[in-house]
Subunit: 295 residues, 4 copies
């Protein structure tokens, strides 16, 4: 994906501006066009806000048209290729392509009910959700009345757009669209950070599926060189960290039982805030551990 | 199984004594007969010790015959019904009937190698082991020389016998053949024991199998009314406790994230000492927990 | 102090009954006399309840006379010897004889204000309070109106009486008048209880005083043979436990820094419920510890 | 104190170089003079190493003269003003001016014994030690033979010099002469950092003295804006952190006992490595806490 600097956007004429940002709102170049006269934008946040203000100020028919311009989540459109390239990439990331048959059926039942009740497609910023969370959002939002749901759909569109702007436009400021999941391992048996500990991160789902996301080794500070998840929203869902402390203590020659009382330590937790920092450390001896949501 | 009191044994004539205890050592009523003159036994421990002393003092040929009198673990004998009823019940308890095909093949390879090297069957007190642990013991003991392995086999026979005596003879003292696995849940968010928490205990195996053993609900003291495992040796192996704290905090109305950061807390640990007390508690808030091998 | 069994009381004639229990309510043998006809008492709790019911049912003048019959806390009466022997022993136990000059002055100011406002002496079950707590109770109860304070005074009299009955009468049941403070030390470095750890208990006071109450050594279970406080109410107040873990780890030869990171671990906490069980354990390595109100 | 850049030193002539660094080694400008020809120094570490190499290569008589040129710690020289300004400031920082009479007497006994045994003054980098630690070093080093103690004295001189170079010379690199003591407070009751918590740091001494060093308030990340100690060596000794969590939970309105179970949480620990990072956090609920040497 090509990027453009905020400075270049500020120096653009209208045609260039709309060429660069016209597809940021799905099938709605009018949003970019309406934002154009408000240049220059001191920050990316100001550009984002100007576009949102444009949408909020538009007549209800235009807002509904914007909503209706979005693809049906995993529906016929997904297969017919009518989605923008953006939407395709985003929908893949939510595990929509990993649904079980039962989930797929349930998904379609809710999708049809949603269409029937509201007359527009279910829009959700899929990068902020795991598979279970999307199904749950479906259920909750089906209970809304039309006015509340129209607002909910716009909120999701704004989230989708903020992620697109974050990837498209280079600026000195960053939109607060990324979360971070990090950890560290402290060996409270020897009173020092634990280096060389293998840590696996799995995504769990209600159907019992366990999907390996990443595995890392702690460095000499007992931390990972990179966050376990970073540079994107943290998908709402349940996760398991697996800390291979048995191998670590074996390498140190720490006296232990045979088999060792602790070997791989699983820590299961949920992420509820995609844009937050979750720090989930482990303080561990061969016989005990502490874990918590830290900072 | 009928039981007999130590007092009755002490008052028996030799025929009665051998009738009561002749099968305690597998196909070896001579052990009971040799112990008979050493009555009266002040304690069950004294009776047990007298029988072990008899075996230790026997000529090597007699000790080897005792060893050879034991059934081949899970071998042809198991199917032909040549095992004593005791041995059948004991072998079932170690998960030998739940082996995967690969494990079954591996088991037989080791069993054949063992027979070939030592000329007698592999004897192990199966109630002290899980499936993985038995396979591992096989591997370790195959490395012994004949003298060391003869001792190892007798040690296992003494363990089998101690469990049989514990079940057969009523006395004021107890042989130290039982372990205990217990837990408790302390809610450090509200500073009180956590009642009503569902706790599941699973047995894990190297092949990935997870077998549910028991589930219990904590009482008003945050403990279970019965130990999770008690009144028997704790089989060496890996286990998982699953503490359903999410439901507990939901019932209390404790403020939490959605989905809650902690829901079911898994704690994985190994038991290495079948006759020990393992206390594995959980101190928990909606955001943190501590677990350890306690007492 | 001589004790009497509940059975003997049930078999007594009125004169014997009143001789035995007439002084349980301070200068008010009428309470025992009125309870007498309600024999036999199945439990000590029933006897206690019968006496309380008698007081509650008495005319307000008689209840006020009961209140006024109590000595002035630490006042002239204390020195003139007009207090019953009970009252003297009880008042000593609250640290009233260890007040600083400033506390003594403050105490008398509040005592005078109380007398002036309510017309009767300040009554409090001193064995349930430390020095700071008594001063605080004074302050709080001074804000009561006369009716509420009359009730508060009777509640305290009932508490005093329950303690006297607990000491005077032997029965199968026990009145719930005792609390318990206990601890244990778990060495999570070696995964076992920590024996031989010196534990000191200090009472702290707002004036900065630190008074040693007891010191004990942990046994092989990492517990103390006796509770740190037991067989009496736990005086409301602040306490410090001092766990001498440095010496413990030094004896074990555990590798540590020089000087060791942890030596004596102080744990400060308050007791708020005199009749409760406070368990305040320490889970400790040379580099970390956990403490909590347990059960 | 005026500073000079490493670049300026590299561009200096010999007279300028010795004028700038001649007093870095106490009364020994020959060290700077001998290092001068080895310019240019790429780093401050290289300059420091060049000066140390000069000393190590000097004849034993010259090394002894260097040692003897140092003031007698707290001896007559201290009062007569014969110390360099450096030495005076450094000695004040170790609490040598806060010794009790008994400590002062003990100090002088050891000082005299040292002089008598070795024939040169006791040299120690006082900024790396608290009062108790200096007395203990005295005792340990008195047991050395002359050769070992000559090496020990030079090691201390090198530490003193490294601190002087760190303050005198500006360079891109830093000598590893500083430690850091930091903390943070995590509220595991609400799953978030604890802002606004008052933290006091006290220095403890064997004589029972408690000296307030600093107090800070946690920021919104539950950390202090500055380290508790930083930019200098951490004096070896015992310390107490006092976390005022009672006030914090009171402000939040967290349900607690009256008086609250936890109010001010004291954490006592020793610093053994002056140049290390000590992170001593508190994870706390109203009923429990965890602390540890972290990273």
């Amino acid at each position: 994906m090509t990027t453009i600097s905020l400075d270049s956007l500020n120096a653009s004429d209208e045609a260039q501006f709309v060429a660069a940002l016209g597809d940021i709102y799905e099938h709605a170049p009018w949003v970019a066009r309406a934002a154009y006269p408000r240049r220059p934008f001191a920050t990316l946040a100001a550009l984002s806000e100007a576009m949102m203000a444009t949408v909020r100020a538009a007549p209800i028919e235009q807002r509904l048209a914007l909503i209706k311009g979005h693809p049906d989540l995993a529906g016929k459109a997904a297969r017919a290729g009518a989605m923008t390239a953006h939407s395709q990439a985003e929908q893949a990331s939510a595990g929509l392509d990993r649904m079980t048959d039962a989930e797929f059926d349930e998904f379609h039942r809710r999708n049809d009910a949603y269409r029937k009740k509201f007359g527009f497609p279910f829009i959700i910023c899929v990068r902020r959700h795991g598979k279970d969370s999307i199904l749950q959002q479906f259920e909750r939002r089906l209970r809304n009345d039309v006015a509340a749901e129209t607002d909910a759909a716009l909120t999701e569109i704004f989230r989708i757009v903020a992620l697109r702007l974050d990837q498209r436009v280079e600026a000195r400021d960053k939109l607060p669209v990324h979360g971070r999941l990090s950890t560290h391992v402290l060996d409270t048996h020897s009173g020092a950070p634990a280096p060389g500990v293998l840590i696996e991160l799995l995504e769990l789902s209600a159907s019992g599926e366990r999907r390996a996301l990443v595995s890392m080794i702690t460095n000499r500070d007992g931390r990972t060189d990179q966050p376990l998840i970073g540079g994107c929203p943290l998908p709402i869902g349940r996760y398991q960290l697996r800390f291979h402390v048995g191998d670590y203590f074996a390498r140190l020659g720490t006296p232990r039982a045979d088999p060792p009382f602790l070997d791989v330590v699983p820590v299961e937790f949920a992420i509820a805030e995609p844009e937050a920092h979750y720090h989930v450390p482990l303080l561990v001896t061969p016989w005990s551990y502490v874990t918590y949501r830290g900072s």
